[in-house]
Amino acid sequence: MASINYAFKEISCKIVYYGPGVCGKTTNLQAIHATVPPKFRGDLVSLATEQDRTLFFDFLPLDLGEVRGFKTKFQLYTVPGQVYYNATRQLVLRGVDGVVFVADSAADRMEDNRESLANLRENLESYGLNLDQISWVIQFNKRDLPNAVPRDEMEALLNPDHVPSMESIASKGIGVKETLKAIAALVLRRLSDITESAPAASSLERKAAAAAEQQVPRSQKVSLVASGSEPRSPVPAPAGETVAAAASTPSGAPPPPRPATAAAPSVAPARTTVELPDLHVMQKCDARWRGFRVGTAVVEITRRAGADRRASYALACQATYLQLFRRMWKCMLQLSGEETKVIDYHSVSFYAFQDVAAEGKKGGEVHVWIKNAFDKACYVSFSGFGSTVQLTPAGRSWFE
């Protein structure tokens, strides 16, 4: 079962190389490990006997980086091929998304290939699966052997369903990439189909989910206090945690960093009705790091649907650093007179406090404290709904 993490925009899929003993499963992983640059892969973990026979499994994580907006990761596993390690093979198959069946092309191994394929079917059944429900390909390995069985014969024996198949000489790295490409494509195509066919949540369901989120017992919350005002509706904060952020107000006078204040969770913040205007603002500003200009950031704020007092706004930020790195953040804020709640976000969480809107003034200040999943924080402020937005990156943590 693959996992899709929408917070980190990350997909993780498990691919298992299966086949009879000494057919070249580990060799496939070794070839991938030798070819792929270290920044795209982790270490090859091998649990092998002294004779280099796989005892439990081999494991190689691949990180392809961002593909179509999702960080795509594959975990490649092999199983021990020897007949008496079946319990281990069964364990490794748990949660599998794709299987590469590595067949040995030697003439005297055809029966082993057939038995191993039958064993794969049996072991999948123990998880209530069959080969039709997962993505799989066949790799005819060791094509350089003098007694290699012709491909047609192997296809007839092992591939009656005509799944994608390819020839390889894994010891020389030939056909290894093609096999990985084929299985990766099948796994991701299946995943795309599943996510497309599943019903999408409506905006109301999303809001309900967000509301339910507020009920989840939390161990850590953060409060934000607008500069120049007393704390009015802080979100409960963990004791001892401080907001290490400094921001410039629109007037240019930097307020002192404020510590987050702990508040009793039982005290519900008072809400007041407030008119929040339609808004579409886009502003470009410098991104600074330790006082140096290192790039640019573009902030866009748009009013979303909702005319009631809980109007919501979408905030998107795209920052480019040194012409090298580009990051995009999106989130949705829900503003009311006394507090601003996060109702949806990507990659970063936003807590905002509207300073003067509660007094009925349009064009109040909004201060947003941004905290990403790694507890790095920065502080931005923007003022004058409908007019200008001022983004104030607060030092190094913006970029980390």
């Binding site: 494991f59 949660g95 429900q133 995943l191 795309s192 599943i194 019903p199 999943a373």
Partner: protein
């Protein structure tokens, strides 16, 4: 019927991260991982040192799965806790639900009792969350792009040829 992938929304991830960070702090541990039994690290939190969480998750899942098989052999349905003790480090694993476990790697700063207590509390919170996730019938966020598979192939070409 096709297997549904586990879909963690931003709210799910945020909650998991908060629980793990809390556990890390309270138990004064070095690293905390939420791992599924297929070997994926679903979420983790660690102190300053960097541990290879991918490899760790794969190996821990292997150990945990073996322990389950062991339990069956000796007539138990489950061993819910797995513990490793080293000279400087300890690994405490606790089952969250059928498919996931929580792993706490601690050093000499923390006591075993505290780790166990905090881990049990965290496991309960996480289990409740995954029960809610399992009941979802909709995709919370956008589907994957249709050309994802094709682009992944191109990406693999680039990586292998680089």
């Amino acid at each position: 019927m096709a297997q549904m992938p586990l879909m963690l929304t931003t709210a799910d991830q945020k909650m998991l991260h908060e629980v793990l960070v809390d556990l890390l702090k309270k138990s004064a541990s070095r690293c905390v991982l939420l791992v599924d039994l297929s070997g994926r690290c679903l979420a983790h939190a660690q102190s300053k040192e960097k541990i290879d969480v991918d490899a760790l998750a794969a190996l821990l899942a292997g150990a945990f799965s073996s322990m389950r098989a062991l339990a069956t052999l000796v007539g138990e349905t489950e061993f819910s806790v797995l513990f490793h003790q080293g000279e400087h480090s300890r690994i405490h694993n606790i089952l969250v639900d059928e498919d996931r476990f929580l792993s706490v790697i601690s050093g000499q700063r923390s006591t075993m009792g505290k780790v166990r207590l905090c881990a049990e509390n965290a496991a309960e919170q996480i289990a409740a969350r995954f029960r809610a996730i399992a009941q979802r019938t909709t995709v919370a966020e956008s589907p994957l792009h249709a050309s994802m598979a094709k682009d992944t192939g191109k990406r693999l070409d680039e990586i292998f040829d680089s």
